[in-house]
């Protein structure tokens, strides 16, 4: 391995090292060492984690601006990992999401006082796995990174150790294993067909292999592997029809963990799927059938997510279905892959997906973490439990309402702009019916988002005790809402950033 290899991996390594630092610090700050009264010192773990995140963030910045080392789109470490700007974009997103989640979980974590160290270690390990995943450019690396992500996430889901939480962990574990098996199967087909595990080699060899007309994706092996890979990642991205675990797991997991899963986990799965699939986008037979496949998945995901969310009474389940629907909107961008004949807008799909994901990350974190702050204090995770929130905590209420309106896609938030961009790619590729399905879905979604908004704004509550969020929680939610507004009102700079990060097309 050369120095360049180390630089390329440095943010991932730093993240993994930070996890270990936290594990050691947890041992050093153990309660028993100080006579059992030193919870306060354990809180320091949160700050070590947040401040420590500056290291991987700085190393990623270093690569982006090429102070030391380069951010080339050449694969390094024997072709297994690519630290291009595409990967860095998602690494920033993951680091940011991790930081914001930790920031918001400080008060929440009191209930985990025995397993505080585990929480941070697991969270950061999962984040390290995701950061590896978004740059993985070889099948086995993808698989290993995915497992590094999945196992800590399972443990996180079960961290609360009550009935719901254990159930969530168990479900997550089993379905995670199943989905990874499917994915592995798909990767094996790809290897069997081409005899290579590096994506660039696979693409090169596929170009030499014949495509049969009349067979979907031009060849049965490619079809099977694409279907299995999409199914495998489908679980991680929480898209229908692989969404069944999502509401149960989100409901059972600690809310900050659900926030983390719904943003970082999803984003990294989208990233790797984009990297994998867009390397095949040049093959016309693949691209054509791919449009149909993803258009159907998008339709299913949006419709199922929104229709199921309509009747939910539990906020976490409602938000879970909402993330399924959101993933469906993102799938619209996937469906809008350009068939080579109109290659002038080849990067439109990935651009819209990345813009949407960035906006979604901020918005969804804001909503989940605002809700985490509330539910931690009220203990009531039903929609009715939010009544009178405007009086009990005006700031949280307003922030959460803005977040919900952004998820709904109301201007001037990023939810609207991102939908405008992503749906326009579908129309651009002639998928007008898909754009119509998508916008009709947003109208359905308006009903349940506005129902929650209505309860927050107009609901009357017997309990008038003010809810006072901590500074960390408020900061985290504010960052999310600020992102939702700024990306929506002045979209150009984030779009420029996205354009610079489009190294995969």
């Amino acid at each position: 391995m050369t120095a360049q290899d180390y630089w390329a991996l440095s943010p991932v390594i730093a993240m993994a090292a930070l996890a270990l630092v936290l594990l050691s610090a947890d041992a050093l700050l153990a309660e028993r060492m100080f006579g059992g009264k030193r919870y306060g010192s354990k809180r320091a773990l949160s700050w070590i984690a947040v401040i420590g995140l500056a290291v991987p963030a700085f190393l990623a910045l270093n690569l982006w601006f090429e102070w030391f080392g380069e951010s080339t789109s050449e694969a390094v470490v024997y072709g297994t990992f690519t630290a291009d700007r595409f990967a860095l974009f998602f690494q920033f997103l993951i680091i940011g999401a991790t930081g914001v989640v930790i920031l918001a979980s400080v008060p929440y974590l009191q209930q985990f006082r025995d397993s505080l160290g585990e929480f941070f270690t697991l969270l950061l390990t999962a984040a390290a796995g995701m950061m590896l995943l978004v740059g993985a450019s070889e099948l086995i690396t993808i698989y290993v990174a995915l497992e590094t992500t999945a196992l800590p996430a399972v443990a996180l889901a079960a961290l609360r150790r009550d009935g719901f939480s254990i159930e969530a962990g168990a479900k997550f574990l089993i379905l995670s294993a199943l989905s990874t098996a499917l994915l592995l199967f798909g990767l094996v087909f790809l290897y069997g067909y081409t005899g290579a595990t590096r994506i660039d080699e696979i693409v090169a060899r596929m170009g030499a292999l014949p495509f049969e007309s009349g067979v979907p994706f031009g060849s049965l092996a490619v079809m099977l592997s694409v279907l299995l890979i999409v199914a495998g990642f489908g679980f991680k991205m929480a898209i229908a029809p692989w969404h069944m675990w999502v509401p149960d797991v989100y409901q059972g997991s600690p809310t900050p963990v659900a926030a983390f899963l719904s943003v970082a986990s999803k984003a990294s799965a989208f990233a790797v799927l984009m990297r994998l699939l867009y390397s095949f986008a040049g093959f016309d037979p693949v691209a054509q059938d791919w449009q149909i496949l993803f258009a159907l998945i998008a339709t299913a995901s949006m419709t199922v997510g929104n229709l199921m969310a309509l009747s939910q009474t539990n906020v976490k389940r409602l938000l879970a279905y909402s993330t399924i629907a959101q993933a469906g909107y993102i799938m619209v961008g996937f469906a809008a892959v350009s068939v080579a004949s109109s290659s002038d807008s080849a990067s439109a799909g990935p651009q819209s997906i990345m813009y949407y994901l960035a906006g979604y990350a901020f918005t969804n974190l804001a909503v989940f973490l605002a809700f985490a702050a509330i539910v931690h204090r009220t203990g009531n995770d039903t929609i009715a439990g939010l009544s009178g929130l405007l009086k009990r905590s005006p700031v949280l209420a307003i922030l959460m309402v803005i977040g919900l309106l952004s998820l709904l896609g109301m201007p001037p938030t990023v939810g609207f702009m991102a939908k405008a961009v992503i749906f326009s790619t579908a129309v651009d590729q002639g998928l007008i019916w898909l754009a119509v399905v998508a916008v009709v879905n947003t109208v359905v979604a308006a009903y349940y988002y506005l129902r929650v908004v209505g309860v927050i704004m107009f609901g009357e509550s017997d309990d008038a005790d003010p809810i006072k969020p901590g500074a960390g929680e408020l900061a985290a939610v504010s960052i999310g809402v600020a992102g939702a507004l700024v990306f929506g009102i002045v979209p150009w700079f984030i779009l420029e950033l996205v354009d610079k990060s489009l190294t995969i097309v």
């Binding site: 109301m410 201007p411 002639g430 007008i432 308006a446 002045v490």
Partner: protein, 524 residues
């Protein structure tokens, strides 16, 4: 090239800015009185700005003026800019928004519940509507068009009466459902190969060719008829046109007075404006399908709207609901006026005049309906504040107790039924005269709408204001004797709305000529 005058940006965002100030000073727990007057003053300043825009609009130069231009969104598949400007079509509507925003703020003097929130939403509503009228970029237009939903949802839900949550949600879902189609329509227009701008009108100063010129005669990404329908549905819901009008009576009836004034006065006009700007503006020379092809069927729908709306109005027993349904009828006239566009196909001078006059009549009808119905809702609101019922069979003899409210209610009613010398007459006669040569049957049938209007207006006034006292089972005698008339301060919003009714009734040129400049720019 970039240009930034700033006056329109200021006009649009001043109310929102005032709302932000109210939000920020909320922790100070100022007296409601101060908040109220602050909001009112900000709407007055906004009105003055709109008046300046209207008067300073150079009628000789025409075209788009007061341009504010910044680049905004530049994704691969959609590029949009922050582009504000007014032309002859939008200048009067901007003035109308300023006028009604001010009237609505004055009419909200008696709001006692969560005062600062109420005014924040009311001011945001004004910003949204104003934004719709001055946005020249299609996506920006849509942003404002959609954003208006949120303040309305809040205002109806929390300060409404009856079943406010139900009505508010219904309003939102109808509007968003319509808007959803427009959203796709926007992409479909933009993504047509030949189109590289989202600017709705040509802006020579910036070197921008409007969409209309770019989509003329080329193959669109989807059939032109489909795209036309996508836009039309969005506006038909909002206008509203039978059979998509169902949300309107509920929203109107349950909204607080000032919000009804805004809803009837300017929100409905966003739809009529959109139809002129987009459905007529874009689709005159499109390939395979033009607005002229649709005019016939639209004139039938318009006639049905007018007559159906009027018949349903007659049998209403709630005063507010009655006025709400009369809006369906009156908005049918707007659509009828627009269908005169087909006259231009005759390729004679007369045909062009008819098309121009019909659209001008429709635009004027929007303006006059805004003031007339605004006034009517205001008067019903004032009466309701005192009687606490709008149920017509429970009312009677109000004239004796509240003559001032009665007089202005009369004026609104007579203007609504088209009495000469009041503004409603001018706009309706323009619509009829110009649509008759093109669609004689639809125009003739619609004329019954005016007859029916006389029926429902006069009959309602007779039942509520005339007579010596309320009928048996209505307002008890002791309560009736305690009823009071309007207060002096109530006269401000009343006069704000009454003056234009007379001015336009007697001297319509003041608005008609400005509209004409804008519409001539749109006609091809």
């Amino acid at each position: 090239m970039s240009e930034f005058n700033g006056i329109l940006t200021l006009t649009v965002f001043l109310p929102a800015l005032a709302g932000l100030v109210i939000l920020l000073v909320k922790p100070l727990q100022l007296e409601d009185r101060i908040i109220r007057w602050f909001a009112i003053v900000s709407t007055v300043v906004t009105f003055v700005l709109t008046l300046i825009v209207f008067l300073a609009y150079d009628r000789d130069a025409g075209g788009v003026q007061f341009i504010d231009h910044l680049s905004w969104l530049s994704a691969e598949t959609i590029k949009s800019s922050y582009l504000l400007g007014v032309d002859g079509l939008s200048a009067p509507l901007v003035l109308l928004t300023g006028l009604l925003g001010m009237a609505a703020a004055f009419a909200s003097r008696n709001i006692g519940l969560r005062v600062s929130e109420y005014f924040i939403w009311l001011l945001l509503l004004e910003t949204a509507v104003m934004g719709v009228f001055v946005s020249l970029d299609l996506l920006l237009f849509f942003v404002f068009f959609e954003f208006e939903v949120i303040p309305m949802f809040m205002l109806i839900s929390l300060w409404g009466s009856g079943r406010p949550r139900y009505s508010a949600m219904k309003f939102v879902l109808y509007t968003l459902a319509g808007g959803a189609f427009m959203f796709v329509g926007i992409f479909a227009v933009y993504l047509t190969g030949a189109v590289d701008t989202l600017t709705m009108v040509p802006v020579p100063e910036l070197g921008i060719v409007g969409i209309a010129d770019q989509i003329a005669g080329v193959d669109l990404i989807a059939p032109a008829s489909l795209i036309f329908a996508f836009f039309f549905v969005a506006f038909a819901v909002k206008l509203p046109i039978w059979p998509l009008h169902n949300w309107l009576p509920d929203a109107h009836t349950d909204a607080p007075t000032a919000v009804s004034v805004m809803l009837a006065g300017v929100l409905l006009k966003m739809a009529g404006y959109g139809m002129i700007r987009i459905n007529i503006g874009f689709f005159q020379e499109t390939k395979g399908f033009t607005v002229h092809d649709a005019a016939g069927i639209l004139s039938v729908i318009a006639a049905v709207s007018v007559v159906y709306g009027a018949i349903v109005t007659i049998r209403q027993t709630d005063m507010k609901r009655l006025i709400a349904y009369s809006s369906v009828s009156h908005m049918g006239f707007v659509l009828l006026g627009l269908t005169a566009i087909a006259g231009i196909q005759q390729e004679t001078e007369f045909g062009r005049d008819v098309a121009l006059g019909g659209i001008n009549g429709a635009a004027l009808q929007m303006f006059t309906h805004g003031t007339i119905t605004g006034l009517a809702f205001l008067m019903v609101g004032l009466a309701y504040d005192r009687t606490h019922t709008r149920h017509i069979p429970h009312l009677g003899g109000l004239w004796r107790r509240m003559p001032v409210i009665g007089i202005f209610f009369f004026i609104a009613g007579f203007a609504s039924l088209g009495l000469p010398a009041l503004s409603g007459f001018v706009s309706e006669i323009m619509v009829f005269l110009n649509s008759f040569p093109v669609w004689p049957w639809a125009a003739s049938i619609s004329a019954f709408g005016v007859v029916l209007a006389a029926g429902y207006v006069l009959w309602m006034i007779q039942r509520t204001f005339f007579g010596s006292k309320p009928p048996e089972g209505g307002i008890p005698d002791d309560k009736y004797e305690e009823l009071t008339d309007a207060e002096p301060l109530d006269l401000i919003p009343i006069l704000v709305l009454t003056i234009p009714i007379f001015v336009i009734g007697i001297w319509p040129k003041v608005v008609v000529d400005v509209f004409k400049i804008g519409i001539e720019g749109i006609l091809r």
